[in-house]
């Protein structure tokens, strides 16, 4: 029983100090991928058309009925009445 008293006192003191210790703050961590990280998005080369692909795209987009060149429609023969 005499032994238990210092043990209990020590335990109480230990609990007291532990609860008084400052709690660790939650720190906002921003993770920036390193230049060599594999998580970085791969640089896409397919999005940028090659010069040849650009020519091909232009040929495919070409229109013989270009709206900018289409003639306006109007009456070629007005039927103006006689007086």
């Amino acid at each position: 029983m005499k032994i238990l008293i210092p043990v209990i006192a020590f335990a109480i003191l230990l609990i007291f100090f532990v609860t008084r210790l400052p709690r660790p703050r939650s720190a906002a961590v921003t993770v920036t991928p390193s230049p060599t990280s594999s998580l970085q998005p791969p640089t896409s080369t397919s999005a940028v058309p090659t010069e040849l692909q650009q020519v091909i795209n232009d040929i495919r987009a070409f229109r013989l009925d270009d709206p900018q060149l289409v003639a306006p429609a109007f009456s070629h023969s007005l039927d103006i009445p006689e007086e």
Binding site: D58, D66, Q68, P72, S75, I80
Partner: protein
Amino acid sequence: MLPTLFALNAAYRLAFDNWGLARNQYLQYKTEATRQAAISATRQLLPARNVLWKTYLQDLRAQLASDTNIANYSQTTAYLNLETEINFLDNQDSEFSGITSLAQAKQLSKAWESRLGKSEPLSITARTQILSHRLDQFASRLQPFIDSASPSSTLDLVKQKLGTSTPDLKKRHQLLLDVASLMLQLP
């Protein structure tokens, strides 16, 4: 159609609808008031048609100059002929504003329409030259890739198609589309 031309087209449509209404009322009632209304509506319509066509030719002339740089004889001729037509149409504006009778309007309108018989083929020529030049440009842009390609049967086919000479714009465009597909198959 360019924005200015689009607006002029809308103005012409409105003038045409108003003219049709005034014309029908005159034919129906034959009164002095309806006659004057018909003259007034015709005086609005003829310049609207004139400016619409003139602006179209001006746009074509500008497009011909910017696209082709008027690099050969036929392009120069088309450009100068467009210039002549535009000048003619410029002078028509004052004629139309002085219309005082339906008979006079009819005469001026007929003369204008008769001139259109020459003006319209000219516009088709200019348009064809612009489109033809654009197709030539595509072929020129492809040439460096053809020159640097390794010999193959596909390359021979590309050269054969590009070497085909035809005045038909539709066929020329189709040949270029074929070449474009073949170019992607080159080794």
